[in-house]
C-alpha cells in the first residue's frame, strides 16, 4: 500500500490515474513518452469483434476548451487484439484493462467470452459511444436495452467488469444503481457529451454522422456534477471519474466529489506526458499534506 493506492473491486491500483479509452491507442506510441508502468492501469481503445473502418473524414473539430470527435470506433477487431494488442499490454507490469464495444448484445457476450483466455485485470464495457450509427442510440440511453445487456454480460467471464456510461444517461443515478444491483465492479462516468456543429459554407452538419462527442475541459463541470450526484445517491461500487481532466487539481476535485480513480482522455492528445506529471504532482500533494488518497474520496460531501 502506498499513499496513492486505490481499489476497484478486488484490484489495487498503485495510483488512481488511468488513460481514458481511445485517447492513447493501445499504448504503444505513448510508451515513447512515458513509462506506462507508472499508470494505475493501462486501458486500450475499445475493441470490437470485427474490424471497423470508423467514420469518414472529417472526424475532428476543435472547440473553445476541447474537441469534438467522430472517430466511430475505428479498430482492427479481434485479430489485432490477439496478434498485437495483447502481446504488448501483457509485457507491462501495471494492471491491464481492455475496453470493448459492440452493436449488439451478442457481440459483447462473444468478446467477453473470448477474452477469458487472456490474463486481464479488468474489462471496461463501453455502452456509451455516441459515434456509431448501427444500433442507433448507445445502450445506456435506453434503460431496457441496457438492462438486457447487463444481464447478458454479467455471467460471462469472471474478470472485474466496469460499465462506462454516458454523462447524459437518463437519469444517471438510476442507471448506476442498476449497474451496482447487477453485480458489476465499478462504473465509469463517463463518455463524451453529444454535440453538433453546422458547417456554414455547406449549410449542413459538419460531421457525416451529424452528432459527435465532445470532450476536454469544456465537459469537466458536467462530469464532476455527474460523479457528485451518483456518489451522493449512496452508491457502494467505486466510481471512475472521466471528463476534462488535465491537472492534479482536476483529479483532486473528482476524488473529493466521490471518484475512486479517474481516467485522463483528451489531455493526452495535447501533452503525452500529462498523466506522468499528474502522478508526480499527486504524490507531492499527498506527501506535503501527509494524507492518503483514500481519505479524500467523497470528502467534499461531508456535512458540517
Amino acid at each position: 500500500m502506498n499513499q496513492l493506492s486505490t481499489n476497484i473491486g478486488s484490484l489495487t491500483l498503485a495510483n488512481p490515474i488511468v488513460p481514458a479509452s481511445g485517447t492513447i491507442g493501445y499504448g504503444l506510441e505513448l510508451s515513447e513518452w512515458m513509462d506506462l508502468n507508472e499508470l494505475g492501469a493501462i486501458l486500450t481503445k475499445s475493441i470490437t469483434l470485427l474490424p471497423k473502418k470508423g467514420n469518414p473524414q472529417p472526424r475532428l473539430f476543435e472547440i473553445e476548451l476541447g474537441l469534438m470527435n467522430s472517430i466511430g470506433l475505428e479498430n482492427q477487431g479481434w485479430p489485432q487484439f490477439v496478434s498485437e494488442i495483447y502481446p504488448f499490454i501483457s509485457s507491462l507490469k501495471t494492471l491491464k484493462w481492455v475496453s470493448i464495444a459492440g452493436s449488439a448484445v451478442s457481440e459483447y457476450v462473444e468478446l467477453l467470452s473470448k477474452l477469458q483466455d487472456f490474463q486481464l485485470d479488468a474489462v471496461e464495457i463501453n455502452v456509451s459511444c455516441p459515434n456509431v450509427k448501427k444500433g442507433g442510440v448507445p445502450f445506456c440511453f435506453h434503460i431496457p436495452s441496457l438492462k438486457e445487456l447487463l444481464k447478458a454480460v454479467k455471467k460471462v467471464n469472471p474478470v472485474t467488469k466496469i460499465i462506462k456510461i454516458s454523462l447524459e444517461s437518463p437519469p444517471i443515478t438510476d442507471i448506476c444503481h442498476m449497474i451496482e444491483d447487477e453485480g458489476f465492479s465499478a462504473v465509469c462516468i463517463g463518455n463524451t457529451v453529444r454535440g453538433l456543429v453546422i458547417d456554414l459554407e455547406k449549410q449542413k452538419p459538419y460531421f457525416s454522422n451529424q452528432i459527435a462527442g465532445m470532450s476536454g475541459p469544456a465537459i469537466k463541470p458536467i462530469a464532476l456534477r455527474a460523479v457528485w450526484e451518483v456518489y451522493q445517491s449512496g452508491i457502494k461500487i467505486p466510481i471512475i471519474g472521466c471528463g476534462g481532466i488535465r491537472s492534479v487539481k482536476d483529479v483532486l476535485e473528482f476524488i473529493l466529489a466521490g471518484a475512486t480513480c479517474v481516467e485522463v482522455g483528451s489531455a493526452n492528445l495535447i501533452d503525452p506526458t500529462t498523466m506522468s506529471t499528474i502522478i508526480r504532482d499527486l504524490m507531492k500533494y499527498c506527501e506535503q499534506n501527509q494524507l492518503t488518497l483514500q481519505k479524500l474520496i467523497g470528502l467534499a460531501h461531508r456535512k458540517e
Binding site: G22, T23, I24, G25, L28, E29, L30, E32, W33, M34, D35, K45, K53, G54, Q57, P58, R59, L60, E62, I63, E64, L65, G66, L67, N69, I71, E74, Q76, G216, P217, S266, N268, L269, I270, D271, P272, T273
Partner: protein, 258 residues
Amino acid sequence: MKHPVIGTVKNNRWLTPNIFELMVAFPDHSMEIKPGQFVELQCQGNHPVYLNRPFSPFMIRHQDWYFLIQNKGKGTNNLSHLQPGDKITMLSPLGKPFLPPTADNKILLIAGGVGLAPIYYYISHYLPLYPKLSITLLHGTSFEEDKIELPGYLDVLQYYFHADQSASQTNSNLFQYYQTLPKIDFDTAFVCGPLPMMRAFSRYFTKENRIHFVSLEMMMACGLGFCKGCSISTSDGMKSVCSDGPVFDGSELDWNLL
C-alpha cells in the same frame, strides 16, 4: 524517452503578405528530426487554441529551428504574433520521414506554397551529406508575391518557379506547368502541397511507374497516433496520417477517396 521541449522565439518576420518565418531556439533539443517528419507546436497567444498545430521544419541551424508558416486561422495567427523571448512548446520528432537518398540519386522535389518547408529541409539536410545528389526543385505558389526566396543551395539546384496568378488555392496548375518543362530525369520524386496538386502529380507518376512520395496534410488532434482522428483509407487498410505518414507512397493511395 521523448519529452515536450520548450523553445525561445528568436525572430519572427513576414516573408510574404501571408507567410511568416518563425525562428525558435530549442537549447535542450538533442533529438534529430528527419526531412518529412513534423512537430506539434502549442499556439498560446491572445486567442489560445486547445489543440496543438502540426508544422514541418523549414531549416535547422544548430539550435535554431525555422518554420515557414502560412497565416490561416487562430492558431497560426497566434504564432505570427510571437515576439523574441516568448516561449513555445514543441513535440518532436513525429511521423515517418521521406525515404533517405543514396549518394548519387537524382531527386525531383515538388512544393506547392508552404509545402516548401519539408522540401527545402530535405535539400538542406541531405545535400551536405550527399554532395553528389542531383536535385531538381519545382516550386509553385498562387501569386508571384507568395514566392519565397530560398535561403541557400540555389547554385546547386535545378530550380523552377511558377505562380498560378490565381487564388484558386488548388495549385494543380503547377502540374500543367511541369508538363511544359523539358523532360526531367529522376529516380524518386517527393511532393508536398495542396491536395489537388499532389493528386495531379501522383496520378501521373503512378501511370508512368515513377517512384514518388507525397506528404499528406490532415486535421490532427494528437499527431502522435493516439486518437485515429487523422485516418485515411488506403489500399493497405486504414492508416493514420500522423503516425503511418505523413509521407506515403503515392501509388498506394486512393486519390478518389482523399
